[in-house]
Symmetry: C2
Subunit: 125 residues, 2 copies
């Protein structure tokens, strides 16, 4: 069990920026990625407090772990350990307080995110 | 004169994404910088069609040129030559059509951008 925790490496310390200290730079950069917007959209749609692995993402586990970390460090999501899993929740209140309307505007535009995040299929550039 | 144009290098081709082809990724990434948000805020505040040099930015000319280019390539601003100057306008309609509410949300949070963009003065981290 301790082994597993060590293997999780980067996930060991779950650091979060404080409520009043979210940076707009970091939040916008975190949201500037279709996979991360998919995660946020799923959390916003009620998949709250979900284990990272339960998300349906078109990327590897390590890439997914990276994306969750970027979201957490920007203050977009909160993560906590639950046994061997990491569960995530959206920090909607903190985001709405710091950047009113931003999350809704980004989520409202997320129809394009879904297609951006999908693995390449049709539509040659 | 031709010399000046060659020296401008990167500014020679003023490419813009088409109206319906703005990428949310690119727009969010472009806005994830306090200097670029200052440019956008000044354009939104009525300093439309202004030469790049007329902006009051706490960065060098070449850094400023870079920031304008990122904004243009993301479709946030439109740039055109006016003699030897480059003039910029905000693509508000295109942004509002593609990402309703996003620009206003970002600009509404821009009070923090102003302080972020200022040269270091007080407030040790």
């Amino acid at each position: 069990m301790d082994d597993t925790e060590v293997r999780e490496g980067i996930m060991r310390t779950l650091e979060h920026p404080a409520t009043g200290e979210l940076s707009l730079d970091a939040v916008l950069a975190a949201l500037a990625d279709p996979v991360r917007r998919t995660i946020v959209a799923q959390l916003a749609a009620g998949h709250e407090d979900q284990a990272c692995l339960a998300f349906d993402l078109p990327v590897s586990k390590s890439t997914s772990t990276h994306h969750f970390r970027v979201l957490r460090e920007a203050g977009v999501i909160r993560q906590r350990r639950a046994g061997t899993a990491i569960r995530s929740t959206l920090r909607r209140e903190d985001l709405d307080a710091g950047f009113p309307g931003l999350l809704d505007a980004v989520l409202g535009s997320t129809s394009d995110a879904a297609s951006d995040a999908a693995p390449e299929t049709a539509s040659a550039g």
